[in-house]
Symmetry: C2
Subunit: 499 residues, 2 copies
């Protein structure tokens, strides 16, 4: 490695250390911190944020990048760690420098204030109280967009923060197709009866803990590198690939919440744990595309966890804790029931996509000014009627249900469904590459799957954008068909109807 | 507050935030972190250390200090927060700037390497294997001393890091007197029999947890601001006064380890929790004198926790968990037994001081070159014979027992015994100021004691040096007599002999 590259890496490593430290503080805040530690914690986090940002956007970073780039003899197609480090970091640096620190600070402040106002507004189902905060966040999002030029549409700029290089037009085309598949599927299935009493059994938390512990170990969790803790809103984080923290929450009356929540976060964790050692302490050592990230969590949660083969593994484990026999087929049906529901985070795999399409469409209309903020609840409710044939009883169960907009996270939602689509494609390819994978999973041997994902996805960290990695791994950009055909095949098994 | 002071405070607040973040990472490392997270953690900690140091020793800090000093109209005796902030910070800044960053980095590296070598050497009781590391640490300590001038003796410079302004000559005079009191006391008591079978009862960890939880709550622990977790080497830390973390360890065969360990750390925690809000996020918001800090932990652990009045509170609590009646008097005697023992951290209140005097004397001789490192075990063993009439069976139970020297912490040990002496003086004054204090404690009302300590010690943070605070609070510098008279009075009660 050239001297110039080493200097760049050393500088970026320290910035990553600051980022890592902030992640530790965030994890602690959501799992361990006593309530009254909040004030000092938000100050410490703001300072770390400021220091990390300051170190990154500095002229020094620019000089080191320039020198490192000059020391490389690669072509633009060079996919070595070194070449990608320079290219990806250069792109992030140029982007970060375009945002004045005043604006960045105002966005951070508005996010924090907005979340508090939202929590209050949601508790009272009082959208009007939330309007000024949402207006402010949208105004800031527009000012953020104005820092950039050369984009097709304003929403592209926002989307790029969560999935670098992704385009609104591409997402819109995918989601139109997805919607046209999902709406009739919901209409066909949602009124049919499935016996899901099994998942509404009373299930003691300490017994659920044993179940979850067992399941995540089978996935790849080990105590030398991982922790599993309790939290209110489950998340995964990591401080390097050897220190992965996942979280879940427990509901005695509905064990899938903890079980599938943990499998979901463990899927995220496996991604972080699988990033190559050579990328650690570099900006490439963190997965940057939330779509790819979500493809991993959803693949483990839904395709593995709710799949028929693994239900054969889960049923006796659930049965052991419940102290009675659990039929794998009954479990498979119970955890795959399709139901119209108001709340995204409680939605099944079919309706979930429609919750996302709705948000994606509304976000664009808000940013473009086609929908006024005051009219947002009506727009929301109309779409819920159109896509899910549901009347929304109040805004707490409607437009106020998610934290994202209050935190200024506009452009984040689409990555959830993009993740589903990608997972569908990966699932198809995995079955082609590993013809025995269903038998492996049914025999609780998850290593072949995990290793395939590590080899094709995880180890690359953020060396490649979503589309670049999809092209490298699958020879294709994101498409809808594999996910839909996966869904139809599974639901044919659940409902016994040809779809 | 002047503009200049506000700018200084803002700058120092960010440095404190970095320090706080490092404390969080350290706490996590010793309580939560998976084993293999160690490498990334040490890198993140080194970077935070470097950033914090760099921000502090900068010319910018110097300019802000100068401007703030000029904006104050106070006299040198001015004890306002503002005046002390400038004075104390100026002193620390000048000190920190004298140490070249190369040397500081080498000391940090040697500390980390030395601790690993020590752990290995101790496991094998192999002092020879540890010699090169100890030599290196001593050499670095001498180079550190050479960064300064105007000191009476080299050891003063080292001592100053753990108790700013403390002098070797003062400590030596105190310790000579202490030794002359303790040696005959040990000779009188150590061979007498006390029934301490009670503390060697089997006591399940979950029951000990309930006991400890109950006791620390009585002391002032509350879940809104505190946590208690498990660790290998107990410690206390805090991230601001509203987020205090204490730790303990559990021994099923010897419950005082967890109980008194937790009371000790809770005493440290109360100090941090009691520092005035006005000093938070300033360098004065952390207690700097380890002697004062130790006075708080020892006062709660020994004077309260092992005192006759509180044993009346503890006995029924212990009995409740053990499921049988526990006699307060028997408990009082069992937890105050005086015994010759090889290991400092297991020593009782009387012999403890001699373990410290021994280390203090050896440290000076090492720094001055009066004892060669190779001869250290002989020197150690000779003193153990002289002070405690004990033969040392091997170096693991002798010179290799403590981590401090391997970590380059030379000059740290005396603060443990200075803390005992200070606690003796505070205890005497508290009884004068609050004549009913023993009845309060016996009735489990610890609030008057805690509030007295907050008012006279805690709230000041590090506004004053040990001696300055002692003069303000007690009108006297550190003296030996109150501690010795406290010990004699208590042990007369335990042994039934006039001392």
């Amino acid at each position: 490695m050239s001297d110039e590259l080493q200097k760049l890496r050393q500088h970026l490593a320290q910035i990553e250390d600051v980022h890592n430290a902030a992640q530790v503080l965030g994890w602690d805040q959501h799992t361990m911190m006593p309530r009254r530690g909040a004030e000092a914690r938000s100050e410490a986090l703001a300072t770390l944020e400021w220091i990390g940002h300051d170190m990154f956007v500095s002229d020094q970073t620019g000089r080191l990048l320039e020198a490192a780039a000059a020391s490389l003899n690669g072509t633009p197609e060079d996919s070595s760690d070194e070449a990608r480090l320079v290219t990806v970091t250069q792109r992030r640096w140029e982007k970060a420098r375009r945002v004045p620190s005043d604006l960045a600070a105002e966005i951070a402040r508005a996010s924090s204030v907005g979340q508090e106002a939202w929590a209050q507004a949601r508790a009272n189902s009082d959208f009007a109280a939330f309007v000024p905060y949402l207006k402010h966040n949208m105004e800031l999002a527009r000012r953020y967009v104005d820092c950039f030029d050369g984009y097709e549409c304003a929403y592209d700029v926002l989307l790029d923060d969560y999935d670098p290089g992704m385009r609104t037009s591409k997402v819109a085309a995918l989601f139109d197709q997805l919607k046209s598949e999902l709406v009739p599927l919901v209409a066909t299935l949602a009124d049919r009866d499935v016996d899901d009493s099994l998942v509404h059994t009373e299930f003691q938390v300490d017994k659920q803990r044993r179940l979850v512990d067992d399941v995540v170990r089978r996935m790849g969790f080990n105590r030398d590198c991982w922790r599993l803790d309790d939290t209110v809103h489950p998340f995964a984080t990591s401080f390097g690939s050897h220190d992965v923290r996942i979280t879940t929450r427990w509901d005695e009356a509905f064990f899938p919440s903890a079980l599938y929540g943990a499998m979901h976060e463990c899927g995220h964790g496996l991604y972080e744990a699988g990033i190559a050692d050579s990328l650690q302490r570099t900006p490439l050592g963190r997965a940057e595309s939330l779509s790819l990230h979500e493809s991993q969590s959803r693949l483990w949660e839904n395709m593995v966890g709710r799949g028929r083969p693994f239900c054969g593994v889960l049923a006796p484990l659930v049965g052991e804790q419940l102290g009675r026999k659990v039929d794998p087929e009954a479990l498979f049906k119970a955890v795959n029931r399709v139901q119209r529901s108001h709340v995204r985070v409680e939605a099944d795999e079919v309706t979930y996509g429609l919750h996302i399409v709705l948000r994606f469409e509304l976000e664009q209309e808000l940013i473009d000014g086609r929908v006024a903020i005051e009219e947002l609840p009506q727009a929301w409710n109309a779409r819920m009627k159109e896509y899910l044939d549901l009347d929304v009883p109040d805004d707490a169960l409607g437009v106020l249900q998610d934290v994202h907009w209050s935190a200024g996270l506009i452009g984040y939602f689409p990555t959830y469904s993009l993740g589903n689509l990608i997972a569908g494609q990966l699932w198809e390819r995995i079955h082609a590459d590993l013809p025995d994978i269903d038998q492996s999973v049914a025999g609780s041997d998850l290593a072949p799957l995990r290793e395939w994902l590590r080899e094709h996805i995880h180890r690359h960290g953020s060396k490649f954008s979503t589309s670049e990695l999809m092209e490298r791994t699958l020879g294709s950009d994101i498409v809808v068909a594999p996910f839909v055909s996966y869904l139809k095949q599974k639901l044919t098994g659940v409902y016994g109807v040809e779809l």
